[in-house]
Amino acid sequence: MNSAVERVHISHVEMKEIVKTFPGVMACNHIDFDIRSGEVHSLLGENGAGKSTLMKMLYGMLRPDGGEILLDGRRAVFHSPADAISAGIGMIHQHFMLVPTMTVAQNVALGQPSSRGFMLDLDVVSDKIRKLSAEYGLRVNPDDLVSYLSVGEQQRVEIIKALYLGASIIILDEPTAVLTPQEVDDLFVVLRNLVAEGHGLVFISHKLHEVTTLSTRVSVLRDGHFMGTRDASCLDRDELVRMMVGRELKEITPRGYSGGAERLKVRDLHVQGDRGTEVVCGVTIDLHAGEILGIAGVAGNGQRELAEALIGVRVPTSGTILLEDADITTAKLNNRINAGMAMIPEERMQDGAIKDFSVQENVFLHDHSDPEFSAGIFLRFKKMEAHARRLIQDFKVKTPNLDTPIRNLSGGNIQKVIMARELSRKPSVLIASQPTRGVDIGASEYIRERLLLQRDNGTAVLLISEDLDELFSLSDRIAVMYEGRIMGLFNREDTDVQTLGFLMAGLDPKGESLVGPGCE
């Protein structure tokens, strides 16, 4: 093992009868879980099932109210992450734990005694990072400032940190939720290397296909209860879903499409990205009332900037946007919202919620001036509360009550609150970016149903997603975006996954390269 610190190698960690309660919720209700070196033990469960809570207890961030943790048969009590680290346990959190104003090397050095005592030894740390990164295929540059790294790179830094701290058991809490499909493939290569080297991994994900390809064993939690463990050899997708959700999922059936009137007309739109280069290069699309137009593409091909330009948080460099024949190219965000546009942003945690506000306050971020909920300068709290309560039920948001600060909800439940807010309005145009990312399968199903409902009620929906299955089951038409351009636009019946996959990679269906990179 090429870690910076040699620790006793633990080969079996057991959690027995673990109990944890928060005000109003029993997050873990007598849960058994164990992990051996050389295996991937996956943890499945809906949003708020207690996965993160269970793992935070294994990492010493939370104290169990009951139950015990055994390391190779010996009882251990973790008072803080420091104890878990010295026992050889590492964790990569659902929300990264990096100091953005520091370099990669500084972040890695943080948890470790220096080889020079009181003095920093960043050169030594950097060398070791380079070694680790070569050994496991984790591409990172020790001198880069963390705030300039992509999420994929930040995650590699987190893995290096865990390895550097000498972890033999590594917990990965939804590591793939923020990655592009390509980055997921790279990550899996790294994870397989780690397992081959004898590390034990706990893997949390909402994507069943990831869990089935990677795992040795799979355990399922539901509402804080342990539902059972299955070996990889006898995994049955439907059974896992039943254990997780408690029911079968409905197949979404394609419905007939009769394109309505044109709602949104985009003509030759050019948009610059954060780095000042053009990332949307002459996009022309028409969005009709009562249709879902899917935009397929690997993240980073201009979809985010396109969505931002349409909703009005990014100014296009040229081109026009017409909403029902009114030119809104330069209209303010507020005016667009009042004109009936709505958006589910990609960075929901950052752009969609105010963390210290309660669940109810977050539901009413926009609509507090709606006459239904306000009379003059006064708010009609009874009505607001009833409305919020209904949404929380419909979207199955797990929260003790409406006054809970939203930061206390599980990651996926925060997302659901934002979805509930945006989908409950009656927009004429809805732009949805990656609406089901990080959301459990039960809720994904519900969100998809809501999107279809919006469409049936005549909303024009633009659905940006990397998930081809999702696009195929929802969209009436699908466009592929690559390097800022629309590579093709198809009716759903006239195309297939393979064709789209090629176009997403910038290849024509015979595998020939179509365009060079970037706008000219």
Partner: protein
């Protein structure tokens, strides 16, 4: 008017500036440690007052200036401990607990002074220490190298602090705790431990700042002798962009303005005294408004840390 711009006057202005800068340097560099770890300690002025009194009183009783300095440091540490218990362990609002500390220091020092001393008395504090050879350099020598130990120590503190913050593991931990306490916690650093340490370093240095006023600069104690210098020190931390070097720049600018103002009055230049006294403060406000670079502010400044949140 003829003498105002002579070399002698300039030398006087500069030397006064160095000695006036001393309490600012100790207090503001100390506050930099505290704030980099995420704790705004608004009680600096109160700590300075109480330490100034105890340093003065110790010297009055024993005549031992080093003992006076030591007592000032201990008083500072105790006040720092109090601040930490209230705002780190019990997670009270930092602004409120800092103001509480200030009121405590102001009230207690006045009370003790009235009860134990009563009238204005002077002590013989730190003397100027001439550094041989260096002090013989023409013009600059006597200004820079003929000062009290505390002046030398204050200026030495700047590079030492810079070194600790930029080159040691402790400095890295302090900054990590102030930028992202959850991240620091997740790699096993004790967030509260680092905050206690940083606040106590800051408060001990505020104690030295207090001593530098009562047993090095003025050699006496009176009610509210700091006249708000502790608050200026807090402002200097923002001015200096949370770096000891920046803080030194601010301390020099402010004490230069004060020193120039004093010398103008000494020389009998005809400006209203009350206006002159205001100049340094107005300068601080103006410079603060134009210069503060919030980008450098520790992201977790003034925020309590709770483990295990999303």
């Amino acid at each position: 008017m003829r003498d105002i711009f002579s070399f002698n006057v300039l030398a006087g202005v500069l030397q006064t500036m160095l000695s006036l800068a001393t309490p600012f340097l100790f207090a503001a560099v100390g506050e930099t440690f505290s704030q980099l770890s995420g704790v705004v300690n608004l009680g600096v002025d109160g700590i300075m007052l109480l330490s100034a009194f105890f340093a003065f009183y110790t010297v009055l009783l024993t005549g031992n200036i080093w003992l006076g300095l030591l007592v000032a440091i201990i008083v500072g540490l105790l006040m720092g401990l109090l601040m930490s218990v209230v705002s780190v362990t019990f997670k009270a609002q930092q602004g409120i607990s800092g103001i509480g500390l200030q009121i405590l220091g102001l009230g207690l020092s006045s009370l003790l002074f009235k009860v134990l001393v009563g009238t204005v008395r002077t002590v013989s504090g730190f003397r100027r220490m001439r550094i041989p050879l260096l002090a013989d350099i023409p013009f600059l020598g006597p200004i820079l190298f003929n000062n009290t130990v505390l002046v030398y120590a204050a200026f030495l503190l700047v590079p030492v602090s810079w070194f600790i913050l930029e080159r040691t593991t402790l400095g890295l931990k302090i900054k990590a705790v102030g930028q992202n306490p959850s991240a620091a916690d997740s790699v096993g650093i004790s967030v509260n431990g680092i905050r206690y340490l940083s606040v106590c370093i800051g408060s001990a240095l505020a104690g030295v700042a207090g001593a530098s006023i009562s047993i090095s600069i003025s050699n006496l104690f009176q009610d509210n002798i700091t006249a708000g210098q502790g608050f200026i020190a807090v402002a200097l931390v923002y001015f200096g962009g949370w770096s000891p070097i920046g803080v030194m720049g601010g301390a020099l600018l402010f004490s230069f303005a004060t020193s120039a103002q004093i010398w103008l009055q000494v020389l009998g230049v005809d400006i209203p005294a009350s206006l002159a006294v205001m100049i340094p403060y107005i300068l601080t406000i103006v410079v603060l408004t134009v210069s503060v670079n919030r980008g450098k502010q520790p992201a977790a400044l003034n925020k309590q840390f709770f483990r295990g949140e999303n």
